[in-house]
Symmetry: C2
Subunit: 261 residues, 2 copies
């Protein structure tokens, strides 16, 4: 049996607070290849799939749960102490520091998959919701432009609700990606206000669906790769609208329709 | 021609700041029957439909736009000054105080409509997104329990993207509401993880669709009014999941499917 390296503490040290807090910045997350997840359910969902470097729990939580074999397992006095490292408005009884998974993207292996491509989705909450949708609809690979929000942003992590355990998120140069992806001869879909009624368009079980920026939509340089322009019909259809749907909402409706087919 | 009652100012008065800031609290919004909307597009979308009590604009905006016939039209020095009254992290060049519309709910007149019913949707952003979805799909009436987030919460208002101009939001005692609504003999739908595949269930163009709380779902006392329990199939279908979809995402997928039929 392993000897648990358990460090029991009541007060967090200045270093512990500094280390966790530093992960609010993308620069530090990238350098250390770490990220923070909070909440009993979320952390519980991720623990079996990711390497946990540090686990901070309240005394109350520790008394009700078995001890974990984590390099740094810290029991803190309570939620007031937890507040010093939490990124949430209301801290929870569990905070974990995980290693970012090492993913390798091999484009030719995507030839049997339905994938999502995000072209500068900026809002961390939208990104998290999109990953949760991908998870629900069995979409494993989400390809993001470097200008898309960071999946390890605390707000995104919290919005994923554990989808991070299953969905693989790759950051790439989208122009290079599509150059390789085009060789697979699969359809590349995108949603546009002037696209074709989604319900009257053949939707394939394999291929890529592109979603664009919250304000600008899909960029001109990516638009030229799109082979099928889709529109989510509003209702009644003859009511012309200048409005659009939130990008996560559009993702949900489009993914549901692809999977229904 | 009307004489414009225009008060030109550079600095906001303490009273102006106090009055606008007080509207961050529901209690004050309810008492004064006012709410705040920010941003050029959102305010522009609402102005033709709602009574505007005060309009605060930056000098730059005022120079580029015609003056408005608003009781209190205030030109402020710039975004730094705007920051004193803005509820946003990044203030915009336009902030408006609107009167809350006076709505009367007449249940028997709903007999030709598809309506949404929200049973304790707590997150203001989710509520705003749901109203935007209702607007897209031509759903005019959204009935909310008193425990649902306040539609005039600044976060909700911002998330509606102008849907407030068209969608009517009613706060009611849901038990009383369903007592009357049942007399219309229309279907009442709800989504449940143990419901029936939505794509294999007849969906009517009239009736009510109920969505529940983010954590607890539809409450037991409301569940008994549901005549058709729906499930949004995940993919692949044989993969059992303990996860659920975000309530706004579920609303989007369900409304799209109702309108497709």
């Amino acid at each position: 049996m392993l000897i648990w390296q358990i460090l029991q503490k009541i007060m967090l040290s200045k270093n512990q607070i500094k280390n966790v807090s530093s992960l609010s910045l993308k620069k530090n997350r990238d350098e250390q290849r770490l990220f923070v997840a909070e909440g009993e359910k979320l952390v519980g969902d991720l623990l079996p799939f990711l390497v946990c470097r540090s686990l901070f729990v309240t005394k109350e939580w520790a008394m009700e749960h078995s001890k974990k074999t984590i390099p740094e397992y810290v029991v803190v006095d309570g939620l007031d102490e937890m507040k010093k490292i939490s990124f949430l408005t209301t801290p929870t009884s569990v905070l974990a520091v995980f290693e970012q998974p090492n993913l390798v993207l091999n484009v030719p292996t995507l030839n049997n998959d339905l994938i999502l491509v995000l072209d500068e989705v900026q809002n961390p909450g939208n990104l998290g919701t999109i990953l949760r949708i991908a998870d629900w609809f069995g979409i494993t690979h989400v390809i993001c432009s470097h200008t898309t929000a960071d999946v390890f942003n605390p707000k995104t992590v919290q919005a994923t609700m554990g989808a991070l355990a299953r969905v693989k998120v790759h950051y790439v140069n989208l122009l290079d990606f599509f150059d390789s992806y085009q060789a697979l001869k699969l359809p590349i879909y995108g949603t546009f206000l002037d696209g074709k009624n989604m319900y009257k368009t053949p939707l394939s079980g394999v291929g890529a669906i592109v979603f664009g920026n919250e304000g600008k939509g899909i960029s001109a340089e990516i638009e030229k790769f799109i082979s099928s322009r889709l529109f989510i019909p509003n209702y009644p259809a003859d009511l012309k609208t200048s409005e659009s749907l939130n990008v996560a909402v559009a993702t949900a409706i489009v993914c549901a329709e692809f999977r229904r087919n």
